[in-house]
């Protein structure tokens, strides 16, 4: 609607045709060079040495182990951050309390921290020289350079995604529907389940998708805490790095192409959600 109004504007509100074409050309050329070309090059390079090399690369035991590890990490980190996101958004949008803005800033904090530092902090906590290092060693618990460390670093990096998506949404929705539900006799849980959740489901889904994409692709933080043990603690991005550094370009790009497909799927699902949530 908005667009069609904007487009049917009178000549006085339009730039000269040449300017319009020029701007469109600049925008499209920029996107072609920075987005489309890299994307295309991934798939071309992946299949350069033929389909057999491609499939050999993605079915290699190390690749499969990396895929499995990535999926495990995502399966733990994303649901935890989703529950946190809903809880935090509920506390921050339905109530007023002192220190609310401070808490909002803290929730956002991981976005402002370099992924490398996100990894470093868990080394400082759980590494051999870390705060809990001796205790963990004495009890033979491995966190850093093992699955728990990778999960923790991933949770840290993707922590704000769901909350960030829900907070502005729930802020604009206000509290009157919840009040109506409660005045009609519904319990707190029923109010959340029947009134709040349906209202935020698309926003929640949207946040989940973004959180998921980042969790799958996180490189810097995971790189610090993983220890790079092939077939054990390598996630997909780390596996790509190793292949690339060993000059196995086709194999590296083959695994990269898998991740690119996931990224494109993410974009498509995002678009569908945006469209769905608008039409409801």
């Amino acid at each position: 609607m908005e667009q069609s109004i904007a487009l049917s504007k009178s000549a006085a509100l339009q730039e000269p045709r040449i300017i319009r074409y020029l701007l469109t050309f600049i925008a499209l050329a920029f996107l072609a060079f920075f987005i489309v070309l890299p994307l295309v090059s991934i798939f071309v390079t992946a299949f350069q040495k033929g389909v057999e090399v491609y499939f050999a690369a993605i079915t290699h035991p190390d690749a499969l182990a990396a895929i499995k590890l990535t999926l495990i990490v995502v399966a733990i980190a994303v649901p935890l951050n989703a529950i946190f996101g809903v809880m935090a958004a509920w506390a921050l949008t339905k109530f007023n309390f002192k220190g609310k803005n401070l808490l909002l800033t803290i929730v956002d904090l991981p976005f402002a921290v370099s992924p490398v530092i996100a990894g470093l902090i868990f080394i400082l906590l759980f590494g051999s020289q870390g705060l809990f290092g001796d205790w963990l060693f004495a009890h033979d618990i491995k966190i850093v350079f093992a699955l728990p460390g990778i999960v923790l670093a991933t949770i840290f990096v993707t922590l704000p995604f769901v909350a960030r998506e829900l907070i502005p949404l729930m802020q604009t929705q206000g509290t009157s529907e919840e009040e109506a539900s409660i005045s009609l006799g519904a319990s707190g849980f029923k109010t959340f389940w029947y009134v709040t959740l349906p209202n935020i489901k698309w926003g929640l889904f949207y946040g989940l998708i973004l959180c998921n994409a980042r969790a799958i692709g996180e490189f810097g933080a995971v790189s610090v805490v993983s220890g790079h043990i092939r077939g054990m603690t390598n996630t997909m991005p780390l596996h790509i790095e190793i292949l690339y550094n060993e000059y196995q370009f086709s194999a590296a790009f083959a695994v990269a192409s898998l991740m690119s497909v996931m990224a494109i799927l993410t974009l498509i699902i995002k678009d569908i959600i945006a469209w769905k949530s608008k039409s409801v």
Binding site: S176, E179, I182, S183, L184, A186, P198, V280
Partner: protein, 356 residues
Amino acid sequence: MSIHIHNVSKKYGSFQALEDISVDIQSGELVALLGPSGSGKTSLLRVIAGLESSDVGEILFDGQSMTERHPKERNVGFVFQHYALFRHMTVFDNVAYGLKVRPRKTRPSKQDIKTKVMELLQLVKLENFANRYPTQLSGGQRQRVALARALAVEPKVLLLDEPFGALDAKVRKELRRWLRKLHDEFHITSIFVTHDQEEALDVADRIVVMNNGKIEQIGSPDEVYTNPKSPFVYDFLGNVNLFKGRLANGKLMHGEFALDVPDSHTHTDDNAIGYVRPHDIHIEKTNMPGTVPAKISHIHLLGPIVQIELRREDLDEFLEAELTKEQFFQLQLTIGDQVYIKPKQLKVFIPEDYSI
């Protein structure tokens, strides 16, 4: 169900939203809380519903204290200002909600819920809209859904927050009449909040006029209109002309006016303000004792009432008068005419007693 509000006060930070409010509402009454925005009327309504708690004071339903009760235990139907309809539910599901969320023991069967909801939708004339979503309805229709939803839980008290605030003038009038009819049929004790004096005068059995978190006056529409207890009520309910003058020997001195004010001897030589409704301004074409000369500056002729703007000759002040069409044609007034006026009735307030 009768409602007793005892000495209720509430503060938001340093803002006194409600100050020592006490009202008794009889069972089956339709009461309007009338006041400008920020007067505390919505806060009071929300305190009655339990959506907000008061700092001090008590709310009793039929003599039982509700102060500590959760809103869902109070059995009130609340109609929200912007309706607060559940946007992802159909009209049917909205109305059925209060019945569906009951604990299994007291929940009616699916069939019973359906019958009940359809009955209510018939009552609000929306039986053909059961499967629509709130966004597909007009403002008036949404309002009626909100009402049906509140009535579905068979409340003993119906509370409405600016029920017609967001509607256009015509729908507003229609719904007003319809609400009155509904109330006369069901006799649920009802309280509605409004800032529109006409609405309050038109619909309510009794009006509670509020200002700055305090009650200015409680009374029937006729009482508060013809016998306002304070300058604020005078000002807020209908138009009024102000005569700012001095009291001397039982008379209000204002320009060439010396108007009798009974029982005012104690206040001799005080500043005082006389309040006169436009229809209480008497207009003559000839000079009579007690009148002052004025010139007609504007005539607004619309419907049965004629509004006349006058400029007083003794003081450079404007006045507003209202005549019936018959009176107007009898007097044969035109713009620029010299006329003589006097107030038929006025009420005097000493400003120090009231802060306006």
